[in-house]
């Protein structure tokens, strides 16, 4: 692994101004900060203030946040400190700054989904995940940027702003949960929630060098998550390391009577499980997937090295095949747009959101939706409407539903022989702005390896396995991620395996040069006491 400290760092043009130093506390994982909060060594007010200050400092360059709820966050921090002081039960995340993707409803807070059509909309209710985070004591600092209605793989489809990849400001953070990923990477919050329909957590996690997880479909309530494709959408989280990720997933998972598609099963103790070794798990490697066109040779090489490391850690490697996974992309891009064409019909300018007057009501609908939706959203609504329309429904929508069955069966077969499947998360590292916006298909390719898993509704996690120099042009090294996929409900196993790998790699302590002037600053756990001393 190259030593990052020696590598040149590059910032995008116009982003070379001197920034204030980050409070080092903000780059710590939640697991090091929570005990300090609990012990009263730092207050939530201090921590939240520090995070808000850093957001004010860094976010104009980064663009991770669409909305920062400063007053509300401070008020909440004060009340948590007070409650803690009075000896009240304050919850496992009490006082910790976190963020939401802007497609999750929070009462009296703007929820735009990165779309003009929801500009100014304030949700009158809380999503279930918001309720759970707040019950756990987390302090929600704001709403993160995203591709409009979660449609995209670079966050470039946001109607409002670009979000930059903290590892290289000229590159995208991935998408659609790009803002959530960038915010955690750059030290703005400790944990963030994203949503994953075809890879929208795993792909930005990979691009930003973070662990990110999408649970089994049904594990986390979708109530209050603005729907893109209902049969695929799942909420998950980004964190700095696997224990933090386990904590986040623990907090938001569980049955919800407001979501019919919520699984009734109890959620296991993820954090507790990390204390145990997973044993000699059989890891399936899908060689046929590695042969797919579009997988960059350097990513493939790093992935194969990671697989070898897994073997070295005592995992048993097995070859598996996923013969229909390569049909995942067309299948997904028929099913998801079909569902979205209906899910987005409620944006009609009648009860909320943008309204553009027209000659008559029909005209008003057309203009409102034309003005409110961006190009990619319109494209998907068109394709989805087409796929469901009379005469084409069987050939496109129904056919895709059947192929979806074949893809699920591939995983069912594979999981008869292995406990986990390892796959690259993305075919390439983070690409540069504008590189793929002209050609929708090239953008869709970014989700090549994440989509089949979404179609099967399985739990999967992306974790960083290495940083590699760019294949073309100059620039700092960029992170590469690996996906670990489990059978339905096997989140624990996925987290345990990822933790094993993480402990051996130590990569989670890397932070991007963006956060201060020190290039590729590395936090050594042993230096922590010194850092605390400085505060």
């Amino acid at each position: 692994m190259p030593s990052l400290e020696c590598l040149p760092s590059r910032e995008a043009k116009g982003y070379q101004r001197k920034r204030k130093m980050i409070n080092p506390l903000l780059m710590q994982p939640a697991h090091r900060v929570l005990p300090l909060l609990r012990a009263g060594e730092i207050s939530s007010v201090e921590l939240v203030r520090a995070a808000l200050d850093w957001i004010a400092e860094a976010d104009p360059d980064l663009g991770a946040f669409l909305y920062v709820a400063e007053a509300r966050a401070m008020a909440r921090a004060i009340s948590i400190d007070k409650a803690r002081h009075q000896g009240e039960e304050v919850g496992p995340l009490a006082g910790l700054p976190v963020a939401l993707k802007d497609n999750m409803c929070q009462r009296d807070t703007p929820t735009t989904c990165g779309s003009r059509i929801l500009e100014g909309f304030r949700s009158p209710y809380d999503a279930t995940v918001v309720r759970k985070l707040e019950e756990a004591g987390a302090v929600i600092l704001g709403k993160c940027n995203m591709d409009e209605f979660a449609m995209g793989s670079s966050t470039e489809n946001s109607a409002f702003q670009q979000t930059r990849n903290p590892w290289d400001l000229e590159r995208v953070p991935g998408g659609s949960s790009g803002g959530s990923a960038a915010a955690v990477t750059a030290g703005e919050v400790y944990l963030s929630l994203g949503s994953d329909t075809g890879g929208s957590i795993r792909q930005p996690a990979s691009f930003c060098g973070l662990p990110g997880m999408k649970p089994t479909y049904g594990r986390v309530s979708r109530y209050g998550l603005v729907a893109f494709a209902s049969s695929l959408d799942q909420i998950g989280a980004f964190a700095r390391n696997i224990p933090d990720l386990a904590l986040a997933m623990q907090t938001i998972s569980g049955h919800d009577s407001l979501d019919s598609t919520s699984l009734p099963e109890a959620v296991p103790d993820y954090l507790g499980a990390l204390q145990r070794e997973p044993g000699a798990l059989r890891v399936g490697v899908a060689k046929d997937q590695l042969a797919l066109e579009g997988l960059s040779p350097s990513v493939r090489q790093i992935f194969e090295e990671a697989i070898a490391k897994l073997a070295g850690l005592g995992f048993l490697l097995e070859e598996v095949t996923l013969p229909h996974a390569s049909y995942g992309l067309p299948t997904y891009y028929l099913i998801a747009p079909a569902e979205c064409s209906a899910n987005l019909a409620r944006f009609d300018g009648i009860r909320y959101g943008l309204r553009e007057e027209g000659r008559d009501l029909f005209d008003q609908y057309c203009r409102t939706r034309r003005q409110g939706f961006g190009a990619e959203v319109r494209r998907r609504i068109m394709v989805g409407t087409y796929a469901l329309s009379a005469g084409y429904r069987e050939a496109f929508y129904l056919k895709a539903q059947k192929v979806r069955t074949l893809i699920r069966q591939d995983f069912t077969e594979a999981f008869k022989r292995v406990d986990l499947i390892a796959l690259p998360t993305t075919p390439t590292v983070a690409f540069r702005f504008g590189e793929r916006t002209e050609d929708p298909l090239s953008m869709y390719m970014a989700d090549l390896f994440t989509i089949p898993i979404s179609l099967a509704g399985l739990p999967a996690l992306s974790l960083p396995i290495d940083w590699i120099p760019p294949e073309e042009g100059e620039g700092p090294p960029m992170p590469v991620g690996m996906q670990l996929v489990g059978p339905a409900m096997a989140e624990t196993r996925v987290l345990q395996a990822a933790y094993c790998y993480e402990k051996s790699s130590g990569l989670h302590d890397l932070i991007p040069s963006f956060v201060n002037d020190r290039k590729g600053l590395r936090f050594d756990p042993q230096q922590c006491s010194q850092i605390w001393g400085q505060i």
């Binding site: 929820t111 909309f121 009158p124 409620r346």
Partner: protein, 477 residues
């Protein structure tokens, strides 16, 4: 003369406590947009969860209509834009309706010549839309519409009949019977005027091209619209014109059907399975459980009541009024005689209620009290006439009938000595009439009975009086 072929599509609003897919209370007449939540307003991020009672009500209706209950069903999204449809799709059922292939039996006596089974093609669940008030009804505000989402998401059933009906009267009878079934099951008020029952009709001549007529909000409208439409189609045919496949609207004020705007292109609803809801798997045990909980249905009730000796029209009336039928059965349970009970319940009780503009539930009359009243008459404690007077009071007072008899002085005099005294007084006071009677003018018996009744304030036992009067009139001879 061509024959009309009629099929009905009826939308039934269920009377659950909460809406179809959310917990909003069902309260008619509430202030606009006060019974709404993120789900029925279709706010971003909201999700539907199906109401168990709505589902079981549908199964119950399916069973009452002798339908096949599908073991596997699913909701679909029916996609179309309309301001009263907040999600831009209606959650409905498509190729897997909950119940199908049943029939409804029209009561024999309600139509002169027929006793027939009307096929039920399907019964499926869907959600109601919001209510819109158009500018036209708000003079100051022409050109605008106002939307109230309190009705949005109210559970609806769509009941589609086969085109088996052959006259407006039959269509009317079908609706009456369907409403009786809904009321007996207790799943809908069945009130057309309040929109709990909405009807679209299809009508054609001799199974030719059909026209659909929408917007029928009363039983009368259904019958009138069908009569008009039948006439209109006949006239077209006579003129050699074809009947068009079209949707027409009933104009209540003018009493005519008018063509709806013809559609530029056919609607394409793009149905697909609702991914926010899971499939329904209804096993035999579940169906049996609902079946066991079904009350006696109108058809069976009519037969039972007829077998008790009730007149067919009485049996139909009771079968179509579940509350009355329950009341009737309650009285029988405590020993009241069926025929008399029906007679009093449907006759005198209804007459008094009608005159007072009250419903039975608003009065203190109970089945047990009615039975008590009938027992008092049967035992001769009061006369039938006294019974009527007593009933008037029983509909406003909750004192026990026996006490009321006492208080009102209604007790019948069955003492022969007392009656004989009155009779003798009456004969003595009317020697001329007494003479005429003896000469054969027997009609004067009633005159003397009236005289005695006057003396007894109506309380003389009529049978006893009759006997004694005859004896005394003969004796004076």
């Amino acid at each position: 003369m061509p024959k009309p072929t009629i099929g009905l599509e009826v939308h039934v609003q269920l009377r659950t406590d909460s809406k179809m897919f959310c917990a909003c209370p069902m309260e008619f007449g509430a202030e606009p947009n006060t019974r709404v939540c993120p789900v029925c307003l279709a706010l971003p991020g909201s999700l539907p969860v199906l109401n168990r009672v709505a589902l079981e009500s549908t199964i119950a209706l399916g069973l009452a209509l002798h339908c096949h209950i599908t073991p596997f069903s699913q909701f679909h999204r029916k996609n179309y834009f309309y301001p009263d449809l907040p999600k831009g799709y209606q959650i409905s059922q498509y190729d897997l309706p909950l119940a199908s292939d049943g029939y409804l039996t029209l009561p024999k006596e309600s139509i002169a010549a027929s006793f027939k089974k009307v096929g039920i093609i399907r019964v499926h669940m869907e959600e109601d839309t919001a209510k819109s008030i158009h500018g036209a009804s708000l003079a100051h505000n022409v050109g605008y519409a106002l939307l109230d989402f309190n009705r949005s998401g109210v559970p609806l059933l769509e009941v589609v009949s086969a085109p088996d009906l052959e006259s407006p009267e039959e269509a009317s009878a079908y609706l009456v019977e369907l409403r009786a079934i809904l009321r007996t099951l207790g799943i809908s008020s069945g009130n057309m005027e309040e929109g709990a029952l909405r009807c679209d009709v299809n009508i054609s001549l001799d199974r030719g091209t059909r026209a659909e007529v929408k917007n029928l909000n009363s039983f009368r409208a259904v019958r009138k619209a069908l009569e008009y439409e039948f006439q209109r189609q006949c006239e077209r045919v006579e003129r050699g014109e074809a009947v068009l496949l079209e949707t027409r609207h009933w104009d209540e004020a003018k009493g005519v059907t008018i063509p709806g705007r013809s559609k530029e292109e056919a609607e394409d609803y793009r149905y697909f399975p609702e991914p926010d809801l899971l499939p329904l798997e209804i096993d035999v045990r579940w169906v049996e459980q609902v079946h066991r909980s079904l009350p006696e249905l109108p058809e069976g009730r009519r037969e039972r009541l007829a077998s008790l000796g009730l007149h067919p029209s009485e049996a139909i009336t009771l079968a179509h009024n579940p509350e009355l039928a329950c009341f009737f059965d309650g009285a029988l349970e405590v020993g009241a005689p069926p025929k008399e009970t029906a007679n009093w319940l449907l006759g005198e009780v209804q007459r008094i209620l009608h005159a007072g503009g009250k419903s039975l539930e608003e009065t203190p009359l109970t089945p047990v009290r009615l039975a008590e009243l009938l027992r008092l008459i049967q035992q001769g404690v009061i006369s039938s006439k006294g019974g009527k007077a007593l009933l008037e009071v029983m509909l406003t007072s909750d004192r026990p009938p026996a006490e009321l008899v006492e208080a009102l002085g209604l007790a019948q005099v069955s003492d022969p000595v007392q009656i004989r005294l009155w009779v003798q007084e009456a004969i003595a006071a009317n020697p001329k009439q007494s003479e005429q009677y003896r000469q054969g003018k027997e009609a004067l018996l009633a005159f003397f009975a009236g005289q005695v009744m006057k003396k007894s304030f109506g309380n003389a036992n009529p049978e006893l009086l009759d006997r004694i009067l005859k004896e005394e009139l003969q004796a004076t001879a």
